[in-house]
Symmetry: C2
Subunit: 529 residues, 2 copies
């Protein structure tokens, strides 16, 4: 069978790869007999040059036209939904008729939200100082490389997900690097993206796809001056290598690396509805075999009878639930290794802890516990992310110890506090919330973190190492778009030369900050030039 | 004479330094006999701990209270203006009665603008999704270290300048590291800051001052987890060392490193008003002895009679103007070394080029030229920043060559295009403006870049290496403040636990993005909880 082609400069073409790889079918625990190329550096360069050429056209393009591309692409994904979901299910073991239906709808929804943001120019945050005739807005940055994760082949996919939609919405071409666990799914999406690009008259290098590079070429790509920014979601080690390369040349790189998503369940909440919360936790932890960035991996309860009963209840529910399939053999091995790290550092297995038990690549549903003192003495190892259906429950001696545990945590995407519905827990809440809030991108009350609404107010981000910069979200328009933008200021630039969004007239009634007030009006008193 | 004290945890105290340093009087070309300490690592740690303690109070503090501190501090600076300006003039050779009067007014103006931003909460950019009950805003990040530059002892000073005001306005404590060229000025400002902090009831470690550390302790400080972010303006080499340390632990660092601020003067403009522009350029280049971040260091004119006449006119005006005093011996040596780099790479001296000629540390007003082809063949060396009263004029053969020259440029703070007042130059403008705009933070028309208005629409930033992230400005509220903030999201957090700015009621009529519309209203339909 021929090796699959790469998409470069608007053409599907044979790769000059000397190496290939295959994805696996996790349920069958076998390789899928389709060869994907490991691109050479020459191929990366061809993509960089084509992206650069596309960028010079895209940066002048009206938002309307970019929006039309995003919408045409969403329509094409919908039309090919079944084939995409079927292949994604084979490559990831995610259910084609449930989870992937929802994920596909989220994907096309994001593309359409990006189209709306592009059309309204809201993401550009125009600011006009009419007295000084200084005007600024966000503008496209240049070619963006997107490295998508293994766990959302569609909604975070390199050629279809949030980073892709955000980068394109800002007017940047995207070089997608497929995740090696679902190259076929990414290929189908790229086919539709390319057809939509042709249909809507986008420049040839707007969307490009390679599948893999050598590690050294990946670093070289991250450093290359033709690439303006990077979006990366995936393993911490590989992400940090790319970060170092990008940082060394002052290039923005947005990373999502790892997160244990701490949840504190206060005594009043446990007493009031411990079993209910145990059920919620079980559902949240085991969903998608626990392979979520926002999977709750660290639970803190107090050392009393309610706490003990809660642990028993969670363990019993974990044990009763079917064991899911993991994405890959490396995921299965990685989970075992993380659990070993946790037990070596003093955590105790309550249930699970062994490889297998489900169809194909799998790992038993696992609950561990550890005492608060022990956690504090090995805090770094005990907050190792165990990516999969596993959670660690910390038994804390007091609210002061809970606070100390929180203070020992790295940055996380989310943090939750469950409290009694009355004010029983409020004093404890107030003691710990400021510390937790500081260490997470999103603070929740009485709710599991696994749902990540696509909302302008969402923050899917957080302090390092959860993400690379604490000021940006990866989910939610228009916020996610400004990651891939530069601030451009126009100082006494003649009116007719200004970008449309900064001119006096505002025919599309875009929101603009004019002389300190948000407004949809024209600039009233045209300044002298 | 005793070594000056450091300000740590609210107390002026003796340093445990084993080394000291002295600043120089640039006009006299001698050292000023006042000893300043090189702080030990233990002293840095004491400052970090005190800043951490202050932060836990500041992050809960109403904006009103922080605003009161900033305003009290501005009032105190005004009251001690003469003494501050006199010492600054001695340490920097900037004129106490002209330039420093303006700079002091800019400084207190910035502090008051920061106070206004804090009071209105506008910098927090609150976003409310009422249907999903998800709310987000920017919030303080933690202790910030500010390394101020040599060239604006007040307006960019470590304890008084834009980074200081922005970091405090966001609710972060500041550890100021004085610039070694004006430690005394910084000390006087810190004295007033501390008194204002006491007067307005700020926590003890809100403002702290050290003067210098060893290089290795500086790196250690940048990496330390107790420090949340860094603002640095200064030399490229030292900045890149700090950047590498901060990057390695995923810490935001905002840098302003170097910029040659290219100006293209199109043929029609030269024909129309070449002499006038030569006068503007001379004024802009020689102001403050050319020691401005936005000093025009690279001018592009076309190879014709008007271009030749322009160069003659600039050289003649440069030669006629008095030679100013530079900040330091190292600045004088650095300028000589940069000029040597430029001539070695093929630039020709038209005038100047020698050390001395003015009072104290000085360097003759210098104009160099180079042909376009030569520039393109040595583009990296020929865009070396020569910090001082020097400019390089590139003589370009054609608009295509001008475009190529622009494409060879690194990131810069500013870029200007002068064009004829009619449409004569418009075609050329359109060929080059998109490329120039991409490489600068601020694009100007028909105006020199040295003026940096304090405006919400200003961008004093730009692509690397001008600054460290192309999305942020260092001048202009509220934009500059968000550099020192994290995005915090509240997902189903109970109403009474939300920060005031995200609650339904909006008594101060802050601007908030509610369900996609900017508004000063309350949230109307309170969501179910």
């Amino acid at each position: 069978m021929a090796t699959h082609q790469v998409l470069i400069a608007g053409q599907w073409r044979d790769s000059d790869a000397t190496q290939t790889f295959q994805a696996s079918d996790p349920r069958a625990a076998t390789l899928i007999p389709e060869d994907y190329p490991v691109s050479s550096w020459a191929e990366c360069e061809a993509a960089l040059d084509a992206a650069g050429a596309a960028y010079t056209e895209l940066r002048e393009m009206p938002g309307e036209k970019i929006a039309a591309f995003l919408e045409a692409y969403a329509t094409r994904i919908d039309a090919r939904s079944e084939e995409i979901r079927t292949l994604a299910a084979q490559e990831t073991a995610l259910p084609a008729e449930t989870r992937l239906v929802g994920e596909l709808a989220r994907t096309t929804g994001q593309l359409r939200a990006a189209a709306a943001a592009t059309r309204s120019s809201a993401w550009q945050m125009p600011i006009i100082d009419s007295a000084n005739n200084i005007r600024s807005c966000f503008a496209p940055l240049g070619p963006v490389a997107v490295f998508g994760p293994n766990n959302f082949p569609l909604a975070f996919g390199s050629i279809s997900g949030g980073d892709f939609a955000a980068a394109i919405a800002a007017g940047n071409p995207v070089i997608g690097k497929a995740n090696s666990m679902h190259p076929g799914t990414t290929r189908l999406l790229a086919e539709e993206a390319q057809l939509a690009a042709e249909e809507t008259g986008m420049p040839a290098g707007t969307v490009q796809l390679i599948y893999r590079t050598s590690h050294s070429d990946g670093e070289k790509l991250a450093r290359d001056p033709r690439l303006a920014a990077i979006g990366y979601t995936g393993s911490r080690n590989a992400g940090l290598v790319l970060k170092q390369a990008a940082d060394s040349v002052g290039k923005p790189i947005y990373l999502e690396l790892s997160s244990v998503n701490p949840i504190v369940i206060l005594p009043g909440a446990l007493k009031e509805r411990g079993n209910e919360i145990a059920g919620e936790l079980t559902g949240s932890c085991l969903m998608g075999s626990g392979q979520f960035c926002t999977n709750p991996g660290l639970i803190i309860v107090q050392n009393d009878d309610d706490g003990k009963q809660f642990i028993e209840s969670v363990a019993s529910q974990f044990s009763e639930q079917p064991v899911g399939t993991l994405f890959s053999l490396s995921g299965q091995n990685g989970l075992q290794s993380a659990i070993d790290t946790l037990t070596t550092a003093g955590a105790t297995l309550v249930c699970g802890g062994t490889t297998g038990g489900g169809e194909g690549y799998s790992f038993s549903n696992t609950v561990l516990t550890v005492e608060g003192n022990q956690f504090l003495s090995h805090a770094e190892q005990l907050q190792t992310e165990a990516f999969g259906s596993s959670t660690l429950i910390v038994v804390s001696d007091s609210i002061e110890q809970t606070k100390a545990i929180i203070e020992s945590l790295e940055g996380n995407l989310t943090g939750c506090i469950y409290s009694a519905s009355d004010s029983t827990d409020d004093e404890h809440y107030n003691q710990i919330a400021p510390e937790l809030r500081q260490r997470v991108g999103r603070l929740l009350n009485d709710q599991m973190p696994t749902g990540v609404a696509v909302s302008a107010a969402m923050n899917h981000g957080g302090p390092f190492p959860a993400t690379g910069h604490p000021g940006f979200t990866a989910v939610g328009m228009p916020g996610a778009i400004t990651r891939f933008a530069m601030l451009q200021c126009f100082d006494h630039v003649r009116s007719h030369r200004l970008p449309a969004i900064l001119q006096d007239a505002n025919p599309n009634q875009a929101w603009r900050l004019i002389d300190g007030e948000w407004s949809q009006s024209d600039v009233v008193s045209a300044p002298a030039e």
